[in-house]
């Protein structure tokens, strides 16, 4: 029933993509934040080491004999060598004159900082350097001087550290992303599961199961299940109305027919004249034909209705046939038709017992109607491979060969049906039922059947077979 339903995307795929996309976004965000943060920390670390170096030099500044004297501590520069192998430059100046160090070390813009170290990123000797500048006011012979100390180093060590940090942050981001993606896929899968479970539960129902869906579902699916139940209810009501309608229609057609027939029979008994008698008989015949036709039409409607959602129960074809034979025996006896049966024990069929009974009854009815008085009808059941074959063999003169398919066409009447009441709808019904069960109806002259030889049929007849596949 779900052939070629139009699909509009997939919830699972959309959910997965959205979750994975969010994970990617968050992972990138995490990467960027972590990187930014660690870069800051790295810069600060390097800067604080530079500041420590400059500070230790500044601490060694003293005034000796009217001059500024600096005793650069060994550690001031060796500590920079411990952290990385960057090139190191320094300059110690008093006001505008350079006391010692690299005189061409670039000056930062603006006034020398007081108290707090000041950091700049500049260019020197072909490389990018990070420089710290400290200033302190000293008093020389009553005059105020600024001692400015700058310590700088190239940024290769920092760059290398940043590269490693970036690598680490990237790995962190990727790792996080992969875990998140995995979780996303799992979450999408498990969110969809209730839908799949509901679908499976509903599909496991039989065709006649129109109970409302009562299994617990997530709250988001309540509207769906409620609509489904409402739909099921409407369908159930509609179906039972159809069933009631068919039953009601039968009653409404047959009751007036019964009345008319009764009146006709009563009148017939009172009438003497031959032509009046003939008319009345014809009238009664017409009523009987209408009644039978109505019955078969309603049968056919019922069959169509039931084959749409075929019930699957265990059907014992032999027992069913035996019951039908018992029921129809009185009718057959009226025409002195002998009903013979050969119904061995067979494995059960899977199908609708009412439909199968309907089909077989229609065929037997047909056989009895068309067979001449004092003839034989045989009902034989055989297992052939994976099929069960029920054959009804009569002596009703047979169908002219080449006419078999046309006969089962609606309302067609066989050539030997002259003068006999009944339409070909009986065969149509039988064929529709057997085909709904995956089987077929075959008609052949009784002598030509491949089945067991008939009990010496005296006259020409036909063999109508229903072949049902076994489950």
């Amino acid at each position: 029933m779900s052939r070629g339903l139009p699909t509009s995307g997939s919830i699972r795929r959309r959910l997965t993509l959205q979750l994975v996309g969010s994970a990617a976004f968050l992972a990138s965000l995490l990467f960027v934040i972590v990187l930014g943060f660690t870069r800051d920390v790295s810069q600060q670390t390097h800067d604080s080491i530079l500041a420590a170096s400059a500070t230790s030099i500044m601490d060694s500044v003293s005034v000796r004999s009217g001059e500024v004297s600096v005793d650069i501590p060994y550690a001031a520069l060796s500590m920079l060598g411990n952290v990385s192998s960057d090139r190191v430059f320094y300059r110690i100046a008093q006001d505008d004159s350079v006391l010692t160090g690299y005189a061409d070390l670039p000056l930062p813009d603006g006034a020398p900082p007081r108290g707090q170290p000041r950091f700049d990123t500049l260019h020197y000797k072909g490389d990018s350097i990070r420089m710290v500048t400290l200033a302190r006011r000293v008093s020389l012979n009553g005059q105020v001087s600024d001692v400015v100390i700058s310590v700088a180093q190239t940024r290769e060590g920092q760059a290398a550290q940043l590269a490693e940090l970036t690598r680490n942050a990237l790995q962190l981001g990727l790792g996080f992303f992969m875990i998140a993606a995995f979780l996303a896929i799992w979450a999408a899968q498990s969110s969809i599961r209730p839908l799949a479970e509901l679908a499976e539960a509903v599909s496991r129902r039989g065709p006649k199961d129109l109970r409302p869906v009562r299994r617990p579902v997530p709250s988001e699916m309540i509207p769906l299940v409620t609509s489904l139940n409402r739909f099921i209810e409407r369908l159930r009501v509609s179906l039972s109305r159809s069933e009631d309608f068919i039953a009601e229609a039968a009653h409404r057609v047959r009751t007036p027919l019964a009345t008319v027939r009764t009146q006709a029979e009563i009148t017939l008994r009172r009438v003497e004249r031959d032509e009046n008698r003939a008319s009345l008989r014809e009238m009664i015949r017409a009523i009987d034909e209408s009644s039978r036709a109505a019955g078969q039409l309603l049968d056919h409607a019922m069959v169509t209705f039931r084959t749409d959602s075929l019930l699957r129960e265990e059907v014992d074809l032999g027992a069913l046939s035996r019951e039908l034979l018992n029921r129809l025996r009185p009718i057959a006896e009226l025409k002195d038709i002998a009903l013979h049966s050969d119904l061995p024990q067979t494995p059960p069929l899977s199908g609708d017992p009412i439909l199968i009974q309907n089909a077989v009854r229609n065929l037997l009815d047909n056989a009895i109607k068309y067979a001449p008085s004092e003839s034989d009808i045989q009902v034989i059941l055989r297992k052939e491979g994976a099929e069960l074959r029920l054959s009804i063999i009569d002596e009703a003169g047979g169908f002219p060969s080449g006419d078999t398919d046309a006969l089962t066409a609606r309302f067609a009447r066989g050539a030997n049906a002259e003068g006999t009441i009944g339409s070909g709808l009986g065969l149509t019904i039988a064929r529709e039922v057997v085909e709904a069960h995956g089987g077929r109806l075959t008609i052949a002259p009784s002598q030509a059947t491949s089945g067991p030889p008939a009990a010496s049929p005296r006259r020409e007849g036909s063999c109508v077979s229903l072949c049902f596949p076994m489950s």
């Binding site: 009653h251 027919l257 009764t262 029979e265 009987d288 309603l298 009718i331």
Partner: protein, 221 residues
């Protein structure tokens, strides 16, 4: 045989009653369930013909109650409803058979006969006429030591005659009684069956005589 007919359609009921009486049976007609209950309580019936749609209730309830009372009388249900939905219902509830309206009286007759036979209609049903003993249930004719099995139409023809001996039946009447309306037969078909009966009765003191222009009559020779 004593029949109880529970049917609210009066013209149909009248027609059935007529037909059954013609066959020599006794029929009580109840137009609804309450009357049917009264009749069933006071008399013993050989067969109940029960309609489903009754003015004061569903015939199936009557059926259920009847079975609960250990009533063993066989029941044939007359129904106009679709066979499919009611079949299982009525047979499971205890009906012996059912027939759908409108029905052929021959079919009703045949079903009654079948049900009664299954139910074990005893030899109390045998009819005597002269030296002939006729068992309508078994469908046999005993002439002295000889037992003859009769075909359906022969059987019914004999039944007609034996229930009204010395009465003249016209061919047309016999055709009405013997053949269903779909069997479009001429009146001469009767001759065949009368001939057969005469053959069976040969050697007994019963004979069927032809009354020219009027019909046939069975009488003691």
């Amino acid at each position: 045989m004593r029949f109880l007919l529970v049917e609210d359609n009066l013209s149909l009921a009248a027609a059935v009653e007529d037909r059954l009486r013609m066959d020599g049976h006794v029929v009580d007609h109840a137009p609804d369930i309450s009357v049917a209950d009264d009749y069933a309580a006071t008399a013993d019936y050989d067969l109940i013909l029960l309609d489903i749609m009754l003015p004061d209730g569903d015939g199936r309830d009557f059926l259920k109650a009847h079975r609960n009372r250990q009533g063993t009388t066989p029941v044939i249900v007359l129904t106009a409803r679709s066979e499919v939905s009611d079949r299982v219902g009525v047979l499971d509830l205890g009906a012996d058979d059912y027939i759908t309206k409108p029905f052929d009286f021959s079919e009703l007759e045949a079903r009654c006969r079948a049900v009664l036979r299954r139910h074990g209609g005893g030899s109390s049903n045998q009819k005597r006429f002269g030296s002939v003993v006729f068992d309508p249930m078994a469908g046999t004719l005993n002439i002295g030591e000889k037992t003859v099995s009769l075909r359906n139409k022969e059987l019914r023809l004999l039944e007609i005659f034996i229930n009204a001996p010395d009465r003249i039946f016209s061919k047309s009447k016999l055709v009405d009684r013997l053949f269903s309306y779909e069997e479009d037969v001429s009146e001469n078909a009767i001759e065949v069956y009368v001939g057969r009966l005469r053959k069976h009765l040969a050697g007994s003191d019963v004979e069927i005589t032809t009354v020219r222009g009027l019909g046939y009559r069975m009488s003691l020779a």
